[in-house]
Amino acid sequence: MQPIGLLIEFKSGHIKPANFGMATAARAENRQLVALMVDAPADDDKAALEAYGVTRIVNIHTDSNQWNPAMHAAAVVAAMQENGITTLIGLTSPAGRELLPRVAAQLDAPLVMDCIEIDLDDHRVKTSQFSGKTIATIAMTGTHFIYGMRANVIAPLEAPAAAEVIDFSYTANHPSGFEVIETRTDGSGSQYLAESDIIISGGRGLKNAENFKLIFDCARHLNAAVGASRVAVDNGWVPYAMQVGQTGVKVNPKVYMAVGISGSVQHFAGMKTAKTIIAINTDANAPIMAHCDYYAVGDLFDILPALEKALASMTR
């Protein structure tokens, strides 16, 4: 059985659901799924991992009591070596963008981020390139293989198994010349855009920061994340972390609502893979209207309050 390492991530004390899609993509008769948990012992989540076919859980303990990507990546490499793991899969999430390339660099291993398809036997993946305008099939060669999956490309499917739990302590030399001073969280990043099933984004049509409340109000009822176009970010209405697009976050939700957004090439680069795109725009000729699933020609200042009302009455 070939062991496949899964780099497990947590959000507010729970395993991110996107990890289960990752486990589903990795599962096969001849493979053993090994969950690697960095400084997050699997006590409460053992059953959840087992439900998706994980048969070994490695609780990695480092002696840092905070996020430290250099240290955590070194610990993952050590745990991979200890467990004979040469294939590692993680998410192309904020933590994955820090850890996976560090692991790949240390092992001098090939890495493709943001994979939309993976073939672990042939070490072949598909990923988008040129701002989403093309799909590349990439063959990886080497002794170790690192995959960064795009969240939500594979729907999680259960396949219950029983897992053994192993503790692994990483105390080796602290990576030199790299120190974490602090991590500041302002609480605004309630839901990471790329892993959200529903995203409502606003653009220039919103006119100012206050009006974004209309979007937040709808999003709250849906547990949706809020995104924005670059214009909304550049005008200072919302923080850069909310920017969707080529130079922002690339998202892949089930539903993407573009409100007061024209649909520039660069915006599309970040959201064109959304399953259902709904556009609200006063201009019937805005590019977004020709590249979506549903469009409403109308004023967002009329439609958003009506939508908020409809959602409120439904969720009550």
Binding site: S93, P101, I138, F178, M242, D302
Partner: protein, 255 residues
């Protein structure tokens, strides 16, 4: 002290990409300096302005046409540049080896800047590999850099609302994020001046690069297909809202 800035020559994001052959694209389109690398050059120039005896050197692995991107980097503040010439596109394992070798043979870095990601191959990794080959610490998606003679304090945006503050010893590698600064878009005199700045051209064979065992090879490139066929939602705002709720509930099944 030398600040190296790695800059990539990439297709303009607004350009139409047409696939040619099995793995290539038609390159008769506008290419420019990778947008994140603009922030990297701007930051290097800013640091140079407040430090004595500092030189900013732009480094690029690319085809002959990449000279234009190095000229752009010099118009934005780099003093000189190095073009590592190649005829084919290279993966980030080879690229980082070549960049590391070129930097090593040129001088001792104080800092090495890159962008956080290239917008064509979207690899998100060259900076980490470069740091590994140069045995330097690395941080990416930097939004604030405070440099002093023995190190840098760097703020990096990990995700919405989460900022990590790291202290790295110099030399170190920093991947520039969009929040770092507003790019120094060059003025006409800057452009004229940049034409006189030197570009050192070297072939990959002239550098000591050990052949990697690992690699990432593009086997096929195809245009992404558009799967949407737009349908209109009509009626009063309340009607439109009701149709949206229906789509969310019955078609997308997210509520």
């Amino acid at each position: 002290m030398n600040i190296y800035v790695c800059v990539k020559h990439v297709p303009d994001s607004a350009a139409t990409i047409t696939v040619e052959g099995k793995t290539g694209i038609n390159e008769k389109i506008t290419f420019l300096l990778n947008p994140y690398d603009e922030h990297a050059v701007t930051e290097a120039a800013r640091i140079k302005a407040s430090s004595a005896d500092t030189e900013v050197i732009a480094v690029c692995l690319g085809k002959a046409a990449a000279e234009n991107t190095l000229r752009a980097a010099m118009a934005m503040g780099a003093d000189r540049s190095i073009l590592i010439e190649t005829d084919t596109s290279r993966d980030s394992i080879f690229t980082a080896r070549a960049l590391a070798a070129a930097i090593r043979s040129d001088g001792r870095p104080w800092m090495v800047f890159t962008g956080k990601e290239s917008i064509d191959s979207e690899g998100m990794q060259t900076q980490f590999r470069l740091a590994q080959y140069l045995s330097l610490p690395v941080a990416t998606n930097a939004i604030k850099v405070d440099a002093d003679s023995d190190g840098v304090t760097v703020e990096c945006e990990r995700e919405a609302g989460t900022i990590d503050v790291y202290r790295m010893a110099a030399p170190c590698v920093i991947g520039a994020g969009k929040g770092l600064n507003n790019p120094n878009y060059p003025t006409f005199p800057d452009i004229v001046k940049s034409r006189k700045k030197p570009i050192k051209k070297i072939g990959t064979a002239e550098l000591t690069i050990d052949t990697p065992v690992a690699g990432m090879q593009i086997q096929e490139l195809v245009p992404a297909v558009e799967q949407h066929s737009p349908k209109a939602l009509t009626g009063s705002p309340a009607d439109i809202a009701a149709q949206i709720v229906d789509i969310l509930k019955n078609e997308a099944k997210v509520i």
